[in-house]
């Protein structure tokens, strides 16, 4: 099972690792500031995040030891495991913020919906690589992957966690478009998309979710209530100006005006303290990391590996985009973290696992040739 080769080390993606370490270092610095002054109770978030980062490295190494093709096999267990967790959470989950999202494991609260995102990427990559269609998938051929998506989607929606559930849809659509679809499928997707938005608004959405969307559309209407978060986030980012207020000097975050300042809105703290220049630098590194991930996939010689790389990059990309657009007041407040930056063990571990798979695929692409790094 474990076939380790010295050349694996030779083909290890050191550039990606450098970018990853840079992003993580910046995010830890930022978390320190976001939770400053340190609370006397419990472990400081930046420390906890550091532990999870270390744990994530271990998990990455373990993942790299196994050929990613084994994931075809392991994914059955992973899928069932995650679905069971999602069911369990509905029964025993810990309520926070009006939703059941965590399972208390004592040392940390496991958030299975984070795992579900990665699980879906692997599942779809596995399915699409095995059921290959050259001139685009028909709707019939999409029934199975759709069902595979719907199960965790519905379970997460029941928590309710609309943001993460929609994330699954976005992953599915991204990957389906990636493997090419027939024209009528696009049509059906379009129509059912509009229909489900209508249905959701009239039947499914809970009042607080509707409120969030309404607030987003008219954030100035009530600054003290729901629009408050968006407004405060924009103030934080905007007040950073060109060069920022300086590290640990941000007032919006430290004086608690910024909500969720070390989780969903962590990047607003960065924007406030480092300004436009710092933001540009961070986004640049993040952008390089994503592009580098896709670049890796270009040289992969098998479909499964390619789909994995693509799915993982998209998973990180879409979360990042949604999170940052939310911070900038361009999207409603949905609980989507900025991967590697927002505080949260489940999200960090999942992202590290995903990146582990990315490293794994890249390490093993030498099978086909001698392309230089």
């Amino acid at each position: 099972m474990v076939r380790f080769d010295r050349r694996l080390l030779f083909h290890f993606d050191w550039v990606m690792l450098l970018l990853l370490v840079m992003v993580c270092a910046m995010s830890l610095f930022n978390l320190y500031s976001a939770s400053y002054p340190p609370s006397p109770y419990g472990i400081a978030p930046y420390l906890k995040q550091m532990y999870f980062f270390a744990l994530g490295i271990v998990v990455m190494v373990v993942i790299c030891l196994v050929d990613y093709k084994e994931l075809h096999f392991w994914n059955y267990f992973f899928y069932v495991f995650v679905v069971l967790l999602l069911v369990a959470i509905l029964i025993i989950g810990r309520t926070a913020g009006g939703a059941q999202r965590w399972i208390d494991l004592g040392f940390f609260n496991l958030q299975p919906s984070e795992l579900a995102k990665l699980m879906l990427v692997i599942t779809l990559a596995s399915y699409f690589s095995r059921k290959e269609v050259v001139d685009g998938y028909t709707i019939r051929q999409l029934v199975v992957p759709l069902l595979l998506t719907m199960v965790p989607f519905v379970l997460i929606l029941l928590q309710p966690d609309l943001g993460t559930a929609l994330m699954l849809v976005i992953i599915f659509v991204s990957m389906a478009v990636f493997v090419r679809l027939r024209f009528h499928v696009y049509l059906i997707f379009g129509v059912s998309g509009v229909a489900s938005i209508w249905l959701a608004w009239t039947k499914v959405l809970k009042p607080y979710q509707k409120m969030r969307i309404q607030t987003f559309l008219q954030p100035d209407k009530d600054v003290a209530g729901q629009g408050y978060q968006i407004m405060q986030s924009k103030i934080a980012v905007g007040s950073g100006g060109k060069f920022g207020k300086g590290y640990l000097e941000g007032t919006q975050g430290h004086l608690h005006f910024l909500p969720e300042r070390h989780t969903d809105f962590a990047f607003a703290v960065w924007g406030e303290e480092w300004g436009f220049v710092g933001t540009l630098f961070f986004l640049g590194i993040y952008f390089l990391m994503l592009i580098w991930g896709l670049y890796s996939s270009v040289y992969v010689r098998d479909r499964f590996g390619m789909l994995l790389c693509f799915g993982i990059v998209m998973l990180i990309f879409w979360q990042a985009v949604i999170n940052v657009l939310m911070i900038l007041g361009m999207l409603p407040v949905v609980g989507i973290p900025l991967p590697l930056v927002s505080y949260g063990g489940s999200s960090l571990l999942t992202t590290m696992m995903a990146l582990g798979i990315l490293f794994n695929v890249r390490m093993r692409r030498f099978k086909n040739g001698r392309e230089a790094d």
Partner: protein, 637 residues
């Protein structure tokens, strides 16, 4: 070995895989495009928020972070001409609620109500009134609590979460209601006043002058507010003090009033609850030494906002305490107006010192009979005698010959018929009627007979007590008319004079007119000192006083004629005037007294003027045992 391995691996890759992968590669480039697109949008948005709108958001963040609380500036003091403090400040302890600090508001209010001696519902009413403000702003529940309540609240702080004691400077009145109508009071700024405040010096809850000098000199008295900037977190908890700007106390106002003289005048007016006014002017400068209006308003009632009950009582009081009768009420001058008629007669050569008229007790004009106040008549009288005895018939004759318009001219040069320009609000200009005036206002022709009434100060004539005092002072001063002034100077708390007011000569009579005035002065001296003078009761040993009595008719109804004074209903009784100056030979002060419904000038108003003079000259008169307290008891008998 190496080659073999490579070959092995090559087997893993199928032709099909290769083709499929190249298809996917195209899609990968599409994905790169999507990523670039979204990152561009994000970067542009950051550019917009941070670079283009950065300054605005920086200010918003500051507003978020910095809480600025203003510190009330101590209001300027009001002192009398001898620097006696009339109005200063003292701390008032107010009970305020900070809603966001309160844990169990319902219970706290329930416990607090009996301590503050207020209804629970009343407290809730106040909380609701302030509920539109952010929860970190204090809502005042009760102002100016006493020491006992303060001590209790301080000792039982733990029982009252969210309740805070705030200290605010409020007015304190060292002479109680001294010159209350003139000084006025302060109160919470109204919405209208706030809107009118273009410079945004004020904020809700500020105390501003509402009436009297407090209002008129608000810009000097208010000082400049200080501020305390603190950094707060999103919950409004204070993190650190950033800056404190100390308030600048307001400027002090030094009045021309003599507080002790004013006090004596008020005390005498208070006996029998007289409604009316007393004005004392310094003859040679026009400075107001006393400006009494009774009944006074109770200034203490206005601290912390007057209650509805007290306000209604003020409005309902038939003696109109809210009107400053010194300048805001005008009355027919009665016989005091004969000074004007006399001057007019002399200056128009209608009469001279020796001209005599016979007074049979009435004067027939047209088909009407105009009565003299003395039924039996005065017989043959000359000008001096006519003034001394206040002979109406004599002045009917003079008035008839002079005519209403020429009378008006002399009234005006003596300061009647127009605002004196003293620094007091809502001054009335009085009324000096002319033919033209009647045509314009009433659209009626002037009747000759009306001139006769005017000549003795009845009819359309109206004067304020201050105007009459100015007239008296002008006569006393040989025709030099000074503008009355009540403010000596405005001084900063450290004694620097900001603004000082010097006596202003409005006009001066011609030498010829001055000579006539001297004749009139002789008559006025006779009023007090002559054998038949109408105000002999006013005499003070060792002081020569010149004056004139007056009775202003309220109604002219025959059925009250002949009734005993006390049988006439209060509101229909005549007003009593007495106006005088002393010493007659070198006048220092002029005193004018008006007692509403006081019946007769000599008995109703004269004694008050007498005591004021006595007080003023007390250090020069060797009258033993004649202190104000004793005099008080004399008058009340």
């Amino acid at each position: 070995m190496k080659t073999k391995q490579i070959l092995e691996e090559l087997e893993d890759i199928t032709e099909q895989d290769e083709a499929a992968c190249s298809l996917l590669r195209g899609r990968t480039f599409l994905a790169v495009g999507v990523i670039v697109l979204f990152f561009s949008i994000i970067v542009m948005r950051f550019w917009y928020l941070q670079v283009i709108q950065g300054e605005e958001y920086r200010q918003l963040a500051e507003t978020n972070r910095v809480r600025i609380q203003s510190i009330a500036a101590p209001r300027g003091h009001i002192v009398d001409r001898f620097s006696r403090e009339i109005v200063t400040n003292r701390p008032s302890f107010n009970v305020a609620l900070i809603r966001e600090d309160s844990i169990d508001l319902e219970d706290v209010i329930k416990r607090l109500a009996p301590v503050l001696d207020e209804e629970i519902e009343v407290l809730w009413e106040r909380i609701r009134a302030g509920s539109a403000d952010p929860p970190h702003l204090p809502i005042t529940l009760k102002e100016d609590i006493d020491w006992q309540t303060l001590a209790y609240l301080e000792n039982n702080k733990y029982k009252f979460s969210g309740i805070r004691i705030e200290v605010q400077p409020v007015r304190t009145y060292h002479y109680d209601d001294l010159a209350a109508n003139t000084i006025g009071y302060i109160g919470s700024i109204s919405r209208k006043e706030l809107q009118a405040d273009g410079e945004q010096r004020y904020e809700g809850g500020d105390l501003v002058g509402k009436r009297g000098l407090e209002k008129l000199f608000e810009p000097y008295l208010r000082g400049e507010k200080g501020s305390r900037s603190t950094e707060v977190n999103a919950r409004g908890f204070e993190q650190q003090q950033l800056q404190v700007v100390n308030p600048l106390p307001g400027n002090d106002i030094r009045l021309t009033l003599d507080a002790e003289l004013q006090k004596v005048a008020e005390q005498f007016m208070a006996i029998g609850d007289k409604a009316g006014a007393v004005v004392v002017l310094e003859v040679k400068t026009g400075k107001v030494l006393a400006a009494v209006s009774t009944p006074p308003i109770n200034l203490e009632h206005f601290i912390g906002g007057i209650s509805h009950k007290n306000w209604q009582a003020l409005l309902d009081n038939p003696r109109h305490p809210l009107i400053n009768k010194v300048v805001q009420a005008s009355y027919p001058p009665g016989s005091t107006y004969k000074v004007v008629t006399a001057l007019a007669g002399l200056d128009t050569q209608v009469v001279d010192t020796n001209t005599e008229f016979y007074c049979p007790g009435y004067h027939r004009f047209g088909n009407r009979v105009y009565r003299c106040w003395k039924r039996g008549g005065h017989g043959m009288v000359n000008l001096k005698q006519a003034i001394a005895q206040s002979c109406d018939v004599y002045f009917y004759q003079v008035g008839q010959r002079v005519g209403v318009d020429r009378l008006a001219h002399y009234a005006r040069i003596l300061g009647l018929g127009e605002k004196t320009g003293v620094q007091m609000e809502h001054e009335k200009s009085g009324l000096v009627p002319t033919q033209d005036w009647k045509k314009r206002v009433k659209n009626e022709k002037w009747h000759e007979g009306e001139t006769l009434s005017i000549a003795i100060g009845q009819g359309f004539n109206l004067v304020t007590p201050l105007q009459l005092c100015v007239m008296t002072a002008t006569v006393a001063n040989g025709g030099r008319h000074f503008r009355p002034q009540i403010i000596e100077s405005i001084v900063t708390p450290d004694g620097r004079v900001v603004k000082s007011f010097s006596p202003e000569l409005v006009n001066e009579l011609s030498p010829r007119e001055q000579a006539y005035v001297d004749i009139i002065k002789e008559g006025l001296l006779e009023v007090v000192h002559g054998k038949r003078g109408t105000a002999r009761g006013v005499r003070i040993e060792g002081l020569r006083i010149a004056g004139k009595t007056g009775t202003a008719q309220v109604v002219r109804i025959a059925r009250y004629k002949g009734l005993a004074d006390e049988d006439i209903p209060y509101h229909l009784r005549d007003h009593a005037w007495f106006t005088c100056y002393a010493p007659a030979d070198d006048p220092e002060i002029a005193v004018t007294v008006l007692v509403e419904h006081g019946l007769h000038g000599s008995s109703g108003a004269g004694p008050i003027a007498r005591y004021v003079l006595k007080k003023y000259f007390s250090h020069r008169l060797q009258t033993e045992g004649d202190n104000p307290e004793k005099s008080l008891s004399l008058v009340s008998e």
